[in-house]
């Protein structure tokens, strides 16, 4: 591997370019017409403009990216996250062109990208999946038998539903008996398909994920991340490790994640996502992401490993540079996602020119951003301005450092979520590490003294 093309933009393109430059690689950036002055373009040895601003005609255009790779003499392509990173067709075309794809095989992307196949593969690897009917339930009799096994509450889900639609939670056999035919009828009229299945409903569920790495021969984990603080299913703050996770659960969860990576002969960085039930202290497989994730820095800070560098060396054919025993997580890390959205206007997107940009620094503070003062936040891509990542020897120290870092943020020209994140850093539920996937939205509608409802002074 001599020349790396980075098929992405923003902070992750900058992050990848840094790792590539430290390895002495020649670097090629790609950009849309809206990004020609962006930091990632300036940081690379050379760049190719691959299309107009709209992402579908530039960063998502497989042919344009492949052409840029061929013209620039790249022998490897790093897709980053989002855009083309989990498109098996793109990975296949990169490999067919004789280049190294920095990620797993197209087969692994395909397998883990298919919900049903991924769940089957997880089950075969001995990874727990959510107890349920494993397919449609024909009638009330069958549903009652399934619920006997899963326990109550149980969720009735329309097979053709999704994204939170077509779900009914029932507390008892009596309610299930009466609700099932009704949900089937509703599914028929809403989705044109009456099929429903049953799944254990997990109240106060947490989203905990495990970072894994493989070189096709050896498979390791780098600990877990807590990602339950979400707004509209988007992560807002992430932590490594997960607060209050029993050691025994962590042990089982990380072992499961490694087993899944081994089952598919995994190559590169991946994340196995779990739904964690704190009441039963049980966890269930959700999905595996076959790319580097936004929140990878919290893992890097507690393990002192450069995950992007490792992606590159593994893609170049080298074995993993560390063993499981050498990974000894230390301290606690937090990541705050600073976005160009206006918390006072329902988080409405706020593109514009950054007339002022002063990002935090100082001891144990890391800021990953693709922006500089005077630069543009275009309206065409996601709203992430910077990731403010802090480390502390304890969670308490990390949190104090996070507050200090957020206080240093100065942005003019676009609205940002900095004031919202700063209030969140003082919220008693967050301070206590007591939260689950719906907590943040509950706190945001809580008008009491502790709540995050914006109060005018």
């Amino acid at each position: 591997m001599r020349t790396l093309l980075v098929a992405n933009r923003g902070e992750i393109a900058v992050r990848i370019l840094r790792a590539a430059r430290e390895l002495g690689l020649r670097t090629v950036a790609v950009c849309s017409e809206a990004d020609v002055d962006a930091l990632h373009v300036r940081m690379a040895d050379e760049h190719r403009v691959i299309g107009p601003p709209s992402a579908t005609r530039s960063y998502l255009d497989e042919g344009a990216v492949l052409a840029a790779a061929a013209e620039s003499g790249a022998d490897a392509v790093h897709p980053g996250y989002g855009f083309l990173s989990e498109r098996a067709s793109f990975a296949q075309r990169v490999v067919d062109a004789g280049l190294a794809f920095v990620g797993p095989s197209p087969e692994a992307i395909r397998l883990m990208g298919d919900k049903v196949l991924a769940r089957q593969t997880a089950a075969e690897a001995g990874v727990p999946t959510v107890p349920g009917s494993d397919g449609p339930v024909p009638d009330v009799h069958a549903a009652l038998a399934v619920a006997e096994r899963t326990g109550y509450p149980v969720a009735i889900k329309a097979a053709a539903g999704g994204g939170g639609r077509g779900i009914r939670m029932v507390e008892s056999a009596e309610v299930l008996r009466e609700a099932l035919p009704r949900v089937q009828g509703e599914a028929q009229s809403a989705f044109g398909n009456a099929e429903v299945y049953l799944e254990r409903y997990v109240p106060a569920a947490r989203h905990v994920e495990v970072q894994v790495f493989g070189d096709g021969e050896r498979f390791v984990h780098l600990g877990e991340r807590e990602c339950s603080l979400q707004r509209r299913r988007q992560k807002v703050v992430e932590e490594a490790g997960a607060p209050d996770l029993p050691a025994e659960v962590r042990e089982r969860m990380t072992r499961s994640a490694v087993a899944l990576a081994a089952e598919v002969g995994y190559h590169g960085a991946g994340t196995v996502e779990f739904l964690y039930d704190p009441q039963r202290t049980e966890f269930y497989f959700i999905e595996m992401n076959t790319r580097i994730q936004v929140e990878h820095p919290v893992t890097e800070l507690i393990t002192r490993r450069d995950l992007v560098r490792e992606q590159l060396t593994v893609a170049a054919g080298e074995p993993l540079s560390f063993t499981q025993e050498e990974i000894r997580p230390e301290g606690h890390a937090l990541e705050f996602r600073l976005t160009a959205e206006d918390p006072d206007l329902g988080f409405f997107p706020s593109p514009g020119t950054l007339t002022r940009l002063n990002l935090p620094a100082g001891p144990f503070v890391r800021v990953d951003s693709g922006l500089v003062q005077g630069g543009e936040v275009p309206p065409f891509y996601d709203s992430l301005l910077a990731k403010v990542v802090v480390w502390g020897d304890t969670r308490e120290t990390a949190l104090a450092r996070g507050r200090r870092a957020l206080d240093e943020v100065e942005v003019e020209g676009v609205a940002t979520t900095a004031p919202f994140l700063r209030r969140l850093a003082d919220h008693p539920g967050f301070v206590a590490g007591q939260y689950h996937t719906t907590s943040l939205e509950e706190w945001m509608t809580d008008g009491s003294e502790d709540g995050l409802v914006r109060r005018s002074a």
Binding site: P351, D382, S383
Partner: protein, 81 residues
């Protein structure tokens, strides 16, 4: 007969279809009501509906599908009535 100019409320990318594999919200020459959606503007991965803003017939789109718009840019013309 008067004309109403439909303007984009936001900067972003204009879409005439709800999804790439679906038909356009409305064809040129089609009848529209004031609160009818005639397109979407994508800003930072969020989608905002563009309403006709007047009852009448949509005489023409003045931008192409997936055109880049500034806030307040004209999108289409509606013949009112």
């Amino acid at each position: 007969m008067s004309e109403h100019t439909v303007r984009s409320p936001l900067p972003g990318v204009f879409y005439r279809r709800p999804a790439p594999d679906q038909p356009p919200f409305v064809e040129e020459g089609g009848t529209v009501s004031a609160d009818q959606t005639i397109g979407l503007v994508e800003i930072m991965k969020q989608y905002q509906e563009v309403k006709a803003g007047a009852d009448g017939s949509l005489s023409a789109f003045v931008v192409e599908d997936q055109a880049v718009l500034g806030a307040g840019d004209p999108v289409a013309t509606v013949e009112v009535g």
